[in-house]
């Protein structure tokens, strides 16, 4: 084994991210590292790459015990890590980007000699047709991703870590990444491949390590897994009381119909309905379009065409303002960006969409503002003794409650939520789920988009699945299972057959 970690513990405050986790990888092996959000994958990757040395446990590299206090030491030893965010400089040439940092920078170089030196690395990642002297911003994102890897190869690493390299890529670019990984492995490099896309894991990995709640499982050969058993070992935990009980639904007229709504961010127009009393889950990975369709309905992002049918009207909100007028609330996935006024008091946040309701002739009515804000705060168990403090001082979970709770102030008929519990701890999660269910039980509707499988399967009355900007299928309550959802959002076109034949 070229790299081996055993009994790794790492905690952040009260949260233990890794509990006696083990990890290993052999020479010229591709090791898949999978797990849910928050399972500890990124913590483990950071420790391996020298970004984090606050752990306890043993770490041996090439037979020697090591402890990297910063990333450049790990790099010197031969461990390179390709982050999700690209670190290329767009205006500089491909070759210049490859020799940008560290001791690979030649003391003196002309553009020509640099391009010549860059050539072998580009060939290794499959970019042999790209001219090394053109600037990086003329390449596709997938090609840039490959250039990033090429710049890592210039350091001649023995272990390469790829952290979700295809998360932001389309189909054709993803294929190039996968081809590159296979080529690197045959050239003797060891690759740690982190991904949520199980079809990719099955295609290129030799062995798979599953992390769950910070505990690692014995790495096993890919052939010992199938999609079902892999998903089972990723999830496999009881969550009975996390999610509120579902009410019996009798469907009548839909409350809202989405008719051929084509968001700028998706490949095709989408069609679906939501019924009164229902929580509809839109399942999909990053870039699947499940969240984009919500912001399109809420008037917060651009659309090519399409309408919504709602309350006997056919229209499309052009701005959040129009959506609010129609009693449609859209809660975005990034509360720091456009969900909260961090520097303003909690009270003002909670009443922000409903100033019209708390004012007469343009004058704010302090009494009705207090009533509205306190009412909402109590419903969402936001601490009412701190209504005057800035929203920015709250914890993530409480911030999310305020970001979501403020929409109750407009008494909406439909709540659209993109990622209802991103960065939220378990306790607040259960509360948020409970509130959404309560809201739906009043005969209103909730549509939420999520990349979290548990959330999708546990909360939804019905699920619609998305894959890379396409609407894949619809899963009724009786058929809901994590396996089924995962299959549809990771490899809807029957990759399983391919895996078997491979």
């Amino acid at each position: 084994m070229i790299l081996k970690l055993s009994g790794i513990n790492r905690s952040f405050g009260a949260i233990q991210a890794l509990k006696k986790a083990d990890f290993e990888i052999g020479e010229s092996e591709v090791m898949g590292l999978v797990g849910e959000n928050g399972a500890g994958k990124s913590t483990l990757v950071k420790i391996i790459g020298g970004f984090d040395d606050g752990y306890s446990g043993e770490y041996t590299f090439d037979g020697e015990p090591v402890r990297f206090s910063n990333p450049s030491r790990a790099e010197k030893a031969g461990i390179a890590i390709a982050q999700q965010e690209l670190s290329l400089i767009p205006a500089m040439s491909v070759a210049e980007n490859i020799f940008l940092v560290g001791d690979t920078v030649p003391f003196f170089a002309t553009k020509k000699s640099l391009a010549l030196k860059a050539k072998p690395y580009l060939e290794e990642v499959g970019l042999d047709k790209v001219d090394p002297s053109i600037s990086v911003n003329r390449l596709s994102i997938g090609e840039q991703q490959l250039v990033e890897v090429a710049s890592l190869l210039a350091h001649d690493p023995r272990v390469l870590i790829l952290d979700e390299p295809t998360a932001a890529l389309g189909e054709s670019d993803s294929v190039r990444i996968l081809e590159m990984v296979e080529r690197l492995a045959t050239n003797g490099k060891s690759v740690i491949y982190v991904s949520h896309r199980l079809d990719e894991i099955f295609k290129i990995c030799h062995r798979i390590t599953v992390l769950r709640d910070g505990i690692s499982q014995e790495p096993r050969k890919v052939s010992e897994f199938n999609v079902h058993s892999l998903v089972e070992s990723m999830l496999g935990r009881e969550l009975q009381n996390m999610f509120p009980e579902r009410m019996k639904l009798t469907r009548s007229e839909p409350l809202l119909e989405v008719c051929g709504l084509w968001s700028d961010a998706t490949v095709e127009p989408f069609n679906f309905q939501v019924y009164p009393g229902e929580i509809l889950g839109l399942a999909g990975q990053l870039g699947s379009g499940s969240g984009d369709i919500l912001s399109a309905i809420g008037g917060a992002s651009g659309t090519r065409e399409g309408k919504i049918k709602y309350k006997g009207r056919e229209f499309l909100p052009k701005s959040p303002k129009e959506a609010i007028k129609a009693s449609i609330a859209y809660c975005s996935n990034d509360r720091k960006l456009d969900g909260l006024f961090l520097g303003r008091p909690i009270k003002e946040n909670l009443t922000s969409p409903a100033l019209g309701r708390i004012s007469t002739y343009g004058l704010l009515n302090q009494g009705s503002e207090e009533r509205l804000a306190f009412g909402n705060a109590e419903k969402f168990t936001v601490d009412v003794t701190r209504m005057g403090t800035e929203a920015g001082l709250l914890s993530g979970g409480n911030q999310q409650k305020v970001a979501l709770g403020k929409w109750l102030s407009i008494e909406p008929n439909i709540i659209l939520v993109n990622e209802p519990t991103r960065g939220v701890d378990v306790g607040a999660r259960a509360e948020i789920y409970g509130k959404l269910r309560e809201f739906a039980n009043e005969g209103k509707a909730v549509i939420f988009a999520s990349t979290d499988i548990q959330e999708i399967t546990g909360l939804s009355d019905r699920i619609i699945t998305f894959y890379r900007g396409m609407q894949i299928g619809e899963i009724e309550l009786k058929d809901i299972s994590a396996t089924k959802v995962l299959e549809q959002i990771t490899h809807p076109f029957g990759v399983q057959q391919e895996v078997k034949t491979a």
């Binding site: 859209y330 520097g343 922000s352 601490d383 701190r386």
Partner: protein, 341 residues
């Protein structure tokens, strides 16, 4: 659950001093401290400092800059930075007012005409900013345009109108011993503060200033906001232009560029006032009350220097120092509040 919440509140709830520091109010504390220092020094060293006449002078001097700064505060609080065309708007307005007065139209018509010009100028700049134009670039361009118009209209000459005229009550009149312009400053300061605190519009100013994207998401769009705040700032400019013209019975496009206030340039003085008052440059935090106090503070320092016989050079330097000081305190306090998060 509720018990733990309350316990949590006790742990994280801040004491009075902490809250003062966190709310950037350290800046206010520092300024008040500095104000006292200046005051005591003034009392001890300048014999005429502590007279009622001198206090009236201080507030009177603060009035014109203060009124314009109150208007600009709306722009800054709403996150639209500054208007660099404050003095040029005033320049065009003063020419408009004086020309109208000298042509024999009465005060009322001249006043409305001038306000009309200011509203158009403000709305146009606001619309461009609201559409996504950079406030600095837009208003720098507008400044040239407005000044050019005023200069062309007046042939770059002094426009004067004969006394007695209908505007004298505003320029040189007084009520119960206080100059009317001082009374106007106080009334504008109070009503601006009430608008910000107690109206729907005022709340929108703060919300959009605190986070424009979140403002849009909750139905408060910056387009109409930018137009409204720019109109407010322009109207304040026009009011100052009218009051000044009424005082001197004449007008020239350069009245607000030199020989005016302590540092000569009205735009810079107005921006300095907003900043010394301790308003967040990024928007979302501050008040017109702070701006008013800033105006009085600058005017007090300036007054004391005049009494000590400093000429304009050191007085400009003092204003510059005050701006730098307020920026540093603001940045430090802000960092402190981040650390607490």
């Amino acid at each position: 659950m509720s018990n733990s919440l309350i316990a949590n509140a006790r742990v994280t709830g801040l004491g009075f001093v902490d809250r003062l520091v966190r709310d950037y109010s350290a800046l206010v504390v520092c300024l008040i401290g500095l104000f006292l220092v200046v005051f005591i020094v003034g009392m001890a060293t300048a014999p005429n400092f502590l007279t009622i006449f001198n206090f009236k002078t201080i507030i009177r001097d603060a009035a014109l800059v203060g009124i314009m700064a109150i208007g600009l505060t709306f722009v800054t609080l709403s996150g639209n930075f500054f208007l660099l065309s404050m003095k040029e708007t005033a320049a065009l307005c003063i020419i408009c007012f004086a020309t109208s007065m000298s042509s024999g139209y009465g005060f009322e018509i001249s006043f409305l005409l001038t306000m009309g010009v200011a509203i158009i100028a403000g709305a146009a700049q606001g619309a461009l900013i609201g559409l996504g134009g950079n406030p600095i670039v837009v208003t720098l361009g507008a400044a040239g345009l407005l000044f050019g118009l005023g200069s062309w209209w007046s042939d770059n000459l002094v426009v004067s109108f004969r006394r007695p005229h209908g505007a004298e009550w505003l320029g040189t009149g007084s009520f119960l011993g206080l100059p009317n312009i001082t009374i106007a400053f106080i009334l504008i300061a109070i009503s601006a503060e009430c608008v910000l605190r107690y109206t729907n519009f005022g709340r929108q100013v703060y919300l959009i200033g605190a986070n424009r994207a979140a403002g849009k998401a909750t139905g408060h769009e910056n387009f109409s906001m930018a137009i409204k705040v720019c109109i407010i700032a322009s109207i304040c400019s026009a009011f100052v232009a009218i009051a000044f013209s009424a005082q001197v019975s004449s007008a020239h496009v350069n009245y607000f560029s030199s020989e005016f206030g302590s540092s000569g340039d009205m735009t810079i003085m107005v921006i300095a006032t907003v900043m010394v008052g301790g308003n967040s440059i990024m928007g979302g935090f501050g008040s017109t009350l702070r701006t008013s106090l800033g105006a009085i503070f600058i005017s007090t320092v300036d007054n004391m220097m005049v009494l000590h016989g400093f000429n304009s050079g050191p007085r400009v330097l003092a204003v510059g120092l005050m701006i730098v000081f307020s920026i540093i305190v603001f940045a430090l306090v802000r960092r402190g509040s981040r650390a607490q998060e």
